[in-house]
Symmetry: none
Subunit: 347 residues, 3 copies
């Protein structure tokens, strides 16, 4: 099923399917990327928690540590079925890599499309002591190279997690929805937005911490508002940069999810999203930055064709710097994709 | 996977898995039977809609017509994963039989238990004309007997549907939440209850009618309230009698779901549940009975052991008649189960 | 941002935004007033809980005690963003006044409209002992008069709360969905309606009691059903009278929300709504009246213009008396509004 699929006594793949409902979609009938991210994470959490408890040892719950960059290859519509399948492709001593594939299926026409391929990293936390990471049982690989390739991916993501942890610490104040009357359209200030959510019981795992998928769904929601404010058209999620979950968020916290546009190309917008948690009944803890990530959105015509995006107007030095950084990420992704296409053409 | 599994060009089985959340369970942490019924129905709706559209023809949506009697073999808890798998086991010209199996899995211990086996019947309705039933593509059977056995099941359920349609017409008034101060504990009037719900877009299929699973979830909820009012203990769904869906319920309707206790044995309670729909903005249509069914509940101690149930006090002639009818169903089910056990012992 | 805004070390304003979804609206695409009330209350609960925990002291959760009369100034549609901002404007020893403003924003056109201004009163309850009201840290006022005006508002609402507590005790039986076949259209009995809901974990605060916003959403839902049954047209919430929350409602209770029409003017309907809670597993506690309020609805044409409303037919003495009382409230509100307009014209 997967080219890098692990064989042998490794845990069986799991599948989650669901019909997309009106509440899962925007006014144009396109399912929010965040709904897909939430389903992906639920499948990942099930398979990795199951695996980490598969040998006698301390009971544990797998917590999402990181999602690799993922592209949304085609939009999903209300009434279609999203089929999410997950399997474990690598294990280190303390982490599990899960590969997830999403297919959308129009059950009326039978048409199927690949929607997403995502890679998630989970870390098993002890059920008795949430600060203790327990050991992960190793999986068996069909071929030696699978293990080596997995190890390479593991090292790469570890490095990136360390880096963003430092960057993440920088920003300390949330973005407040501005009084947009006083702002010029297409400036950063004009479209920046926030959502605030009180974490309830159904948002949380057995450990009483927010599911990664719940956070990602809210992040996509705020990014979508920023993008729609900027373009005034039907917008959809095109991709999400790697997301690192540095800090857990406890039940009863208030979370502020803020988004601001950082970069626009001709046909895409990059939005930076921050999640700040305020465990406000718990006196010992200050408000803290829990997650941050970059979402890329595109604007679609009624026929589903990409539309040109108005250029972002940068005003301050910080905005100009972030724009250049965003341009760097954009060009890098573009170059990587072209290299992949060339490689594919050569084979 | 299934003994009666169909082979050949028939559509593949599908699987739906989900972690059980606090909102899915009662105060003792036991997942409501209605949540399981809703998951079962969603899997059935996906697989049968997919099958009915698998050949060129009129686009259609499969609507739930009937659920066969099903037993809840073991309770499911918050944090466990419910794995629901569905496959098509028989097709007639205008209906599809779906067999669904539910396994609960404690992903911390790896323990798995069979929770349910259910059989559902769907009828495909044209997407353009909701009153037209379209033709079902036939499935292929691995063995000739599978088709014959399926046909027998088809004929049996058809008969039963006709019968209950007549019985169903009898009752016309809803059951009201009583002023319990004036009622003796353990009478029928003391525990009878209703829920009233406004049908929203997310409760509905593409055709704009309520999903059968949404109705069953509410039916189980009211039956649980009746049982808890009677016993004042932790109660769980033990089984549901065959449910026939005679009439569709349209988006925007107000539905009243009413339950009254009909019979108690030493360790179980039978509750009759009615669903009445009121398409109140549509002046041409009167309130009507959409569904009715019998739910059986048991009372559990803190350790999960069955507790004795206080005997139901019947007052009116109707209550006494219904008690005797309930006793008849109880003894019939008991006899059938013993016959199955004996047959199993002989094999 | 607000004229009465508090300055100094008082807690910063907060903002909650959300895109309106299909499930938030009626069949004409107008968002239910109850959805807006629920968002308002969530913002109020967050800011007041945060403030009450801002100084060393007993951890607590702010519980909604009262919402002042609020007008719905313009309808909100699916796809629009509702921006709710809240700030604390007064504190007494044991209560917090929160001022909330709601703006709807069409993110496609950029058009913004003020939708609501609401004033809410919260009381902080100890997390350890729900029956203990803890002390509220005082806020700083920019001008001396702000404190004096706040104190005046505090005294006024306190008086009104006492009064309605007495009136509230009067009514003791719920309103049942009628068998409308036997009722004349436009009578009180023809349109009166109820909803019945089982309180789940996600309806509740950390203390295990229903969020005020959840109750208000259900109250608006039933008032909308009553209004739609009376007019058979597209109806929207125009205003809500002051609502007092006399009694908490515990998780696991069954709540009955009942509405009956009390008065019609040429273009508006007044609906009285009651909330009765039944903590049914708790034998020590009888069913009790938790909340009551008056909602005013208007009927809109397809173009969004107000339509004439069929006059309410009163039959019993009680209905005639309630009609006259409703007329009194209607004339009083009208006079107050005209006085405000005249005052504004003079300035």
């Amino acid at each position: 099923m997967s080219e890098r699929g692990a064989a042998g006594p490794g845990p069986a793949a799991i599948q989650v399917s669901r019909i997309m409902r009106p509440d899962d979609a925007n006014f144009a009938g396109n399912v929010h990327g965040g709904i897909i991210l939430k389903m992906i994470e639920e499948a990942g959490a099930i398979i990795s928690t199951r695996h980490c408890n598969s040998q006698a040892g301390e009971p544990c719950v797998a917590a999402l540590a990181r999602v690799e960059r993922t592209d949304f290859l085609s939009p999903v519509c209300i009434g279609e079925v999203a089929n999410v399948s997950a399997e474990i492709t690598y294990t280190s001593r303390h982490s599990v890599e899960v590969q997830v594939n999403v297919m959308s299926e129009n059950i009326l026409t039978g048409a199927k499309k690949v929607t997403n391929k995502a890679t998630l990293w989970y870390v098993p936390l002890s059920l008795k002591n949430v600060n203790k990471v327990v050991e992960v049982p190793p999986i068996q690989y069909a071929r030696k190279e699978q293990e080596e390739e997995g190890k390479k991916r593991y090292e790469e993501q570890k490095l990136d997690r360390l880096e963003t942890k430092q960057r993440n610490g920088d920003v300390i104040f949330p973005i407040i929805n501005p009084d947009r009357q006083t702002k010029e359209p297409h400036t950063v200030g004009y479209s920046q937005s926030s959502l605030i959510h009180l974490v309830g019981p159904s948002d949380c795992t057995l450990l009483g911490f927010v599911h990664g998928g719940v956070t990602m769904k809210l992040m996509d929601e705020v990014a979508g508002i920023v993008a729609a404010r900027h373009c005034k058209t039907n917008i959809v999620t095109a991709s999400v940069d790697a997301i690192n979950f540095h800090e857990k968020i406890k039940k009863g916290s208030v979370i502020t999810i803020s988004g601001r546009m950082t970069f626009t190309s001709n046909k895409s917008m990059e939005i930076e999203v921050f999640v700040d948690a305020d465990p406000f009944v718990d006196e010992a803890r200050e408000r803290y930055r829990a997650v941050s990530a970059f979402f890329t959105y595109v604007s679609l015509s009624k026929e589903g064709k990409p539309l040109p995006v108005p250029q972002l107007l940068t005003e301050t030095e910080d905005e100009k710097r972030r724009f250049e950084e965003g341009k760097g990420r954009y060009l890098q992704t573009k170059a990587k994709r072209q290299a992949q296409l060339q490689q594919a053409a050569l084979q």
